[in-house]
């Protein structure tokens, strides 16, 4: 119905956005670690179709940037040569989806370099860094949410199904975790772990840290679902057929938690991507030179950068479309959950 169609639309857009980031190697013209020390903090280049003499070109092109006479940080376009933008060019090698080696990029130029989103202090292309950084941040968010939901599901199921002292103990523990403001808790957990580790270890470290922060609320929600599902007649009936606890949990009770888990996922993933960005921005997350949306922003902690180089701000807003889609997804999922409940209730009264 209507809700299902909205849900599908959101999922498609989500897939597209994530797809672009997954295929960062293809969409990005350069390797994110490639430096160009001669071109620090270049502003973004503009695409043109009309050149300075008023001729229309068949392909879009850019002008290289050269320094203004007498300035050492003001750039202007070098209109002597139009650098044609070619599509599906061959460039730096990369691995598509992590294992398929390829050299094909969506676009690129032949003689000079094209910087559609400018460069940073080391002359690294910001567009490429943005795309690859997205991989790091999004994966951190997704995996972190996965861990949280796994923990929350297990604890909530045990607390709700077995009740008694287990329930009391686990729910008290959940209260403890919810008593800390979540960002402080995140910092606390991060604080007591080694500061300087390799980028890969740091990556998994912060995923685990982020994942362990937020299990309390999903656990409570799962517990609620399990408590009510436990009392349903079809569970008692299955018990009458000789079902064990494990069977009941697996086949009847846990499937009831699916809608809660999905909605929580849609809410947690953007929160966790933001958590990674915050940690990396402050130097506690993924370290250089590996790009992430967070550490791409860390140069903004210097006023000079913040004020003069506006394109360094872009990683902060690139997350907005992702958030929007996740928000829409969460709303649709909640609507679907409500609709299903109404459906079963009303149809249950038809005799």
């Amino acid at each position: 119905m209507r809700v299902r169609r909205a849900l599908t639309r959101w999922l498609v857009v989500l897939g597209l956005l994530h797809g672009i980031v997954i295929c960062a190697g293809f969409f990005a013209p350069y390797d994110p670690a490639e430096q160009d020390r001669k071109s620090p903090y270049l502003p973004p280049m503009r695409l043109h179709l009309l050149d300075s003499q008023g001729h229309l070109h068949a392909h879009p092109f850019v002008y290289s940037l050269k320094l203004h006479k007498g300035s050492f940080d003001q750039y202007e376009e070098d209109t002597t040569e139009a650098q044609q933008v070619k599509f599906f060019v061959s460039g730096a090698g990369y691995r598509l989806l992590g294992f398929l080696p390829s050299r094909r990029h969506l676009f690129g130029t032949e003689n000079a370099r094209i910087y559609l989103l400018g460069t940073d202090a080391y002359g690294r292309d910001q567009l490429s860094r943005l795309l690859f950084g997205g991989q790091v941040s999004l994966v951190a968010g997704l995996l972190g949410a996965g861990i949280t939901l796994l923990i929350g599901l297990s604890i909530g199921a045990v607390a709700g199904y077995f009740g008694g002292w287990r329930d009391t103990l686990l729910m008290r523990l959940a209260e403890l975790f919810m008593a800390l403001p979540w960002l402080y808790l995140l910092f606390a957990i991060r604080a007591f772990l080694p500061l300087t580790v390799s980028p890969l270890k740091a990556f998994f470290l912060i995923i685990v840290v982020i994942g362990t922060v937020g299990w309390a609320r999903p656990a409570r929600l799962v517990r609620g679902v399990v408590l009510s599902a436990k009392e349903r007649d079809f569970v008692r009936a299955a018990r009458g057929f000789g079902a064990t606890n494990g069977y009941l949990l697996r086949r009847h009770i846990l499937p009831e938690t699916s809608s809660v888990l999905l909605t929580q996922a849609a809410i947690l993933i953007p929160q966790y991507v933001l958590a990674e960005m915050t940690l990396s921005f402050l130097g506690l997350g993924v370290p250089e030179p590996v790009p992430s949306w967070g550490n791409l922003l860390s140069s903004l902690q210097q006023y000079s950068v913040l004020v003069s180089y506006w394109w360094m701000y872009l990683p902060a807003v690139v997350i907005v479309p992702f958030f929007l889609v996740y928000l829409g997804l969460a709303s649709s999922l909640q609507e679907r959950g409500d609709a299903y409940k109404i459906e079963t209730r009303s149809l249950g009264n038809l005799t």
Binding site: R232, D233, F234, R236, A237, A238, R239, G240, F241, G242, A243, T244, Y247, H252, P255, E343, T344, L347, G348, L350, T351
Partner: protein, 268 residues
């Protein structure tokens, strides 16, 4: 002849802790005793809160009684441990009041019926298919129903499905916990007739729990009246109807809807 089920002095106490520090106790069953012989129907009648559902739960081995004994086919089953209980449960089946909640509405009819057979783990796929079709026939549902979802069925059809499912494991005793109360009058009659047919063809034994004395009189051989956890009166169905002895029984009788021929005002 040995009774199929013999219940002796069954007691069930629940400890309720509403506020910390004030444990309350609920005495749901206060020394219940009766026997049921195979092939017969005993109706347990009482108002809500009289302990009927607790009785059903204890008999079906879902709960353990605080005290007392239950003998099923000569074997004591009240104080078994979990593993042994799981063996006994398939032989005493419960049918619930609300047909919508006793079936997992996310499952198909096929899955619902196959579940008890799959749980027993001794049947092949083909055997299960065969048995499922037979079960449907037995309760008067067409094989077409297999393809549908329980959501699409009517209340009466769902209750037939529940009965079919509980018959899958060939139980000796069927406990019907207000199983007809949620159905429309005409449907009640149909299901009641189905149950009677099954009793005569399969030799089923029923424990019929209800608050409706009229229904009990129609279906049961013996009636036991429950009030606040005790059986206050017990005997053959017709005797209870015609010569009730206890107050509780009389109140239940008074609650039965009766059809009078003319409204009182017209008689003047």
């Amino acid at each position: 002849m040995e009774p199929l089920l013999k219940v002796e002095n069954l007691v069930k106490r629940y400890a309720k802790r509403s506020l910390p520090g004030t444990p309350e106790e609920l005495l749901a069953l206060d020394g219940v005793s009766f026997t049921i012989f195979a092939g017969t129907t005993l109706a347990v009648v009482g108002e809500s809160g009289s302990g009927k559902s607790t009785l059903a739960a204890c008999l079906a081995c879902m709960e353990s009684p605080t005290a007392g004994n239950i003998w099923f086919e000569g074997k004591e089953i009240a104080n078994l441990e979990e593993r042994a209980r799981r063996q006994v449960r398939p032989q005493i089946q419960l049918i619930f009041q609300d047909p919508a909640s006793s079936l997992n509405l996310r499952w198909s009819v096929m899955e619902v019926l196959a579940e008890p057979l799959i749980l027993q783990r001794k049947f092949s796929r083909e055997e299960i298919d065969l048995r499922v079709t037979l079960l449907l026939e037995r309760v008067g549902l067409s094989p077409e129903t297999l393809k549908r979802l329980p959501i699409e069925l009517s209340g009466g059809q769902r209750q037939r499905l529940a009965i079919a499912r509980s018959l899958a494991l060939e139980p000796k005793l069927l406990i019907l916990d207000e199983a007809l109360s949620a159905l429309d009058c005409s449907v009640q009659a149909q299901i009641a007739n189905l149950l009677m047919d099954l009793q005569s063809s399969l030799g089923m034994t029923y424990l019929f729990i209800t608050h409706d004395l009229a229904m009990a009189a129609h279906l049961a051989d013996e009636i036991a009246v429950m009030d606040r956890g005790r059986i206050v009166e017990q005997g053959p169905a017709q005797k209870i109807l015609r010569h009730p002895e206890q107050e509780a029984t009389r109140q239940l009788l008074a609650a039965m809807p009766r059809i009078t021929l003319a409204p009182p005002s017209l008689e003047q």
